[in-house]
Symmetry: C2
DNA sequence: CAATATACATAAGAAAGTTAGGCATAAACA
DNA sequence: TGTTTATGCCTAACTTTCTTATGTATATTG
């Protein structure tokens, strides 16, 4: 999906996955989205990592480094605020879909 | 809707409305989208007009100026190519929604 | 032991908006 | 009748968000 539509959904995706999974690291998020979407949504690391940093700076994510052998993974989870924002983002997305359905006059199963 | 999600949908909206209505001018498109979406989707002219020009340059739209009193309206309609692209864009949007539904695990009525 | 996968990160540039103007005519209202 | 609001077009500076291209390093697989 070389799709400009994906733009703007990245934060929503991250927040939602962390809410569902509890705790994930960046690379894992990329793989998860890829598999959930049957290889349709391919997050790029150039977009993902800056987004994670921004969400952390915003206070919505908590980051913890963890050593796996000689490598360091950075796990993210939702802060209290992040859990609230996560739900808000999902609702915004649903409203967006509803609006678009009205404008584009399309049915969604 | 101060929503970054709308980004990327503008061309799809324009093409679809022109397909449905046949012939519209810029200002009319703004009003139509506003009313269809119950004031949720408010296109800005700063985004709309450049988009119309780009679609015309691409060969997807045909523009015709029409004098209304002393004012000039610019009507747009779909070219043959534009009609094809319009359908493609709608399909892309539907696929996008399907993918997002998988990733976000949400139900849409 | 070379290629691929895992895992993080940044930086330059492109794309698509927002915000803030500008210009002009027509209609509505006080 | 004069001012505000609506109609109708437009552009330019700036911002946000993403893509593309790198860089670095360890682990696994053939």
């Amino acid at each position: 999906m070389k799709n400009e539509l994906i733009k703007g959904t990245l934060k929503t995706i991250i927040l939602h996955l962390l809410e569902k999974e509890g705790r994930m690291y960046g690379y894992e998020i990329v793989q998860k989205v890829k598999s959930l979407s049957h290889d349709k949504v391919l997050l790029t690391e150039g977009a993902l990592y800056p987004a994670l940093h921004k969400l952390e700076a915003e206070g919505w994510l908590i980051a913890e480094k963890e050593s796996i052998g000689k490598r360091v993974r950075k796990y993210y989870s939702l802060s209290k605020k992040g859990k609230i924002v996560s739900k808000e983002k999902i609702n915004e997305f649903k409203e967006f879909i509803d609006s678009m359905r009205l404008v584009l006059n399309i049915e969604l199963k």
